[in-house]
Amino acid sequence: MNKFMALAGAIHSYVCDGDTIAMEGFTHLIPFAAAHEIIRQKKRNLTAVRLTPDLIYDQMIGAGCIKKLVFSWGGNPGVGSLHRFRDATQNSWPVALEIEEHTHAGLTNRYIAGASGLPFVVMRGYRGTDLMNQTENVALIQSPFADEALTAVAALNPDVTIIHAQQADRLGNVMLWGITGIQKEAVFAASKVIVTVEEIVESFEPKFNSVVLPSVLINAICVAPGGASPSYAMDYYERDNSQYVAWQEVGKNREDFEKWLQREVFAGGSPS
C-alpha cells in the first residue's frame, strides 16, 4: 500500500474528531503544516498531547480543535505566555479546555510505557507536589524488593501521532536528526502515524543524533517543505525566533488571532 500522499488526504484519512493525537517535536521539527491542515479541516474534540503546547497547540486551541490538553509546559519559549491557551483555560474561549498537567519527565515516561506495550512504567517524580492530586494517571507503587515506593505513570497511546522529519526514502522509511526529543516513543506508542518530511531522498546519509523510523511504523508520509516553520529543521532552515516573539501580540486578543487564522491558515497561506 502506498504511504505517500498529500497532507490533506492524510489528515482526512487518519485524524477523526474525538481522537487522541500527539504532535511532537521538542522545539525542533514541530509539525506546523499538519496542524494548520487539521485547523482547515475543522477537526473537533481532540485530546491533544504534547510536552510543550507551544504556538502549534495555541493555534489549534484558538481555532477550537482541542477539547482536552495533556501537557507539561504551556508557555511561549523564551518569550512569555500562550494567550489562546490562557483564554481557553481562564475564559473557555472559544470552547472550554480540559487540561491534564504533567512534568516533562512524567510525559516522557508515559510515552515510553506506551511505546513498550506496558500499562505503566515507574520513575521518581511528582511526590511532594500538588501535581499528583490533579491527574488519575500518576500513582505510588511499592517495590516488591524493598520497603520503598516509586511513582507509576500510566501509558500514553495516541490514536494518531504526527511528526515532521527531514527525510523519507522511496520505501517509506523516515530519518530525522538533531534534537529528536520524544518522537521515537510517540511513534511507537501510536495506533496510526503521519509523518511530514522536508524531502524524499534516494538514500540516507549518516548524521549525528539520527533516528531511522522503519516504514512498517508509518501510515502516511507527506512531503511538506518548510512544514516545521516557524520552528526549524536542522540542515534545512533555522528557527524563526521573530515569529515566536511576534506571536505575543498576534495571540493576545481574539480579533487579531481570528484575522491571523483567516489570513495564514484558511487562506491557505504557508505555516506562520
Binding site: 522545539t27 519559549p77 512534568t103 515516561n109 521518581r124 511526590r127 501535581l131 538533531g178 533555522e238 525566533n241
Partner: protein
C-alpha cells in the same frame, strides 16, 4: 528582559543576579540550564572561571557551548555546538533521575520560605485560575534530582509568600525530613538569588535566610519585599560587585539574544 535601573547601582538588577548566579557555578560541574538569566550566567561562567562547565538543556543538547544567548532551549545553535544531542528519555532518566547533574536552575512565580515553587497558577482553585501559568516543565524533577538547585527570582511581596497557591516543585516542603519522605534525592535549593540579595536555607530548620545583600541594598528593602517574617543572617554579607569584565560579557550576550 525588562531592566530595572537603580540610581545606586552602575549595573542592572538582572546583571547583578546573572553575575551572582555565574559565581555560584564551579568548574567541571554538570549544569542543567534554562532560558534567560540561567543561560546568561552559565555561558558567562564558562567563559570566565569555569571553562570546564558542562551545560545540558532539556532539549537534550549535551555539553553545548553557545556563543549567543538562546531564545529557546531548542535554538539551533545549542544543537550544532553540542558534543552530542540525546533523546528526552536519556535526558530525564539516564542523566537527571540518576543523579548525574550537579546543579540546576529554577525560576518561580511564587516561592515560600521553604523554597517551594509555584509555576502552575495564581488564584483560588486549580480548575478556575485567576492566571494560568505555563506549568511544571522539567522543574519538578530538576528540583528533586539535581544534586543541588539555585533559584533565580525577583523579590517582592507578590512573589515571596507565606503560602503559595500551588506547589509545582518542592524545595524543603514543610521542613526537615520532607525531601527524604518524598524520595527527593538532591539537596534541594542551596541558594535563592534575587534582585536584592541571596537567601540560603538554614541547615537545621531548612527555612530560607537572607545571607547576602547586593551592594547598595538595605535589609529593610529585603524585609519590605518578603511576604513572610524574613530571617536575617548575622553578620550579613555583601555580594561581590560584578567585575567590568563580567558586565561587558553579560551585556554582549544579552545583546546577542533575539529576545533582547
Amino acid at each position: 528582559m525588562s531592566h530595572i535601573e537603580s540610581s545606586t547601582l552602575t549595573w542592572t538588577a538582572d546583571e547583578m543576579m546573572t553575575v551572582a548566579a555565574s559565581n555560584s557555578l564551579k568548574d567541571g560541574n554538570t549544569c542543567f540550564v534554562g532560558i534567560g538569566i540561567p543561560s546568561t550566567a552559565a555561558i558567562l561562567a564558562k567563559s570566565t572561571h569555569a571553562p570546564g562547565l558542562i551545560l545540558i538543556y532539556e532539549s537534550g543538547t549535551f555539553n553545548t557551548n553557545p556563543q549567543n544567548l538562546p531564545l529557546s532551549i531548542g535554538d539551533g545553535e545549542l544543537a550544532t555546538k553540542a558534543l552530542t544531542v540525546v533523546s528526552l528519555p536519556d535526558v530525564f532518566n539516564y542523566w537527571l533521575q540518576s543523579g548525574r547533574i550537579d546543579i540546576g536552575f529554577l525560576g518561580a512565580a511564587q516561592i515560600d520560605k521553604f523554597g517551594n515553587i509555584n509555576t502552575t497558577f495564581i488564584g483560588n482553585t486549580y480548575k478556575s485560575p485567576t492566571v494560568r501559568l505555563p506549568g511544571a516543565g522539567g522543574a519538578p524533577e530538576i528540583a528533586g534530582s539535581c544534586k543541588e538547585t539555585t533559584i533565580i527570582v525577583r523579590q517582592s511581596k507578590r512573589t515571596f509568600l507565606d503560602k503559595i497557591d500551588f506547589i509545582t516543585s518542592v524545595g524543603f516542603g514543610t521542613g526537615p525530613g520532607y525531601r527524604e519522605r518524598n524520595d527527593l534525592r538532591g539537596k534541594g535549593p542551596m541558594r535563592v538569588i534575587t534582585d536584592l540579595g541571596i537567601l540560603e536555607p538554614d541547615p537545621v530548620t531548612c527555612e530560607l535566610v537572607l545571607t547576602h545583600l547586593h551592594p547598595g541594598v538595605t535589609v529593610e528593602q529585603a524585609i519590605e519585599n518578603t511576604g513572610w517574617k524574613l530571617k536575617i543572617a548575622s553578620p550579613i554579607k555583601v555580594t561581590a560587585e560584578p567585575t567590568s569584565e563580567d558586565l561587558i560579557k553579560v551585556r554582549k550576550l544579552v545583546a546577542s539574544s533575539a529576545n533582547s
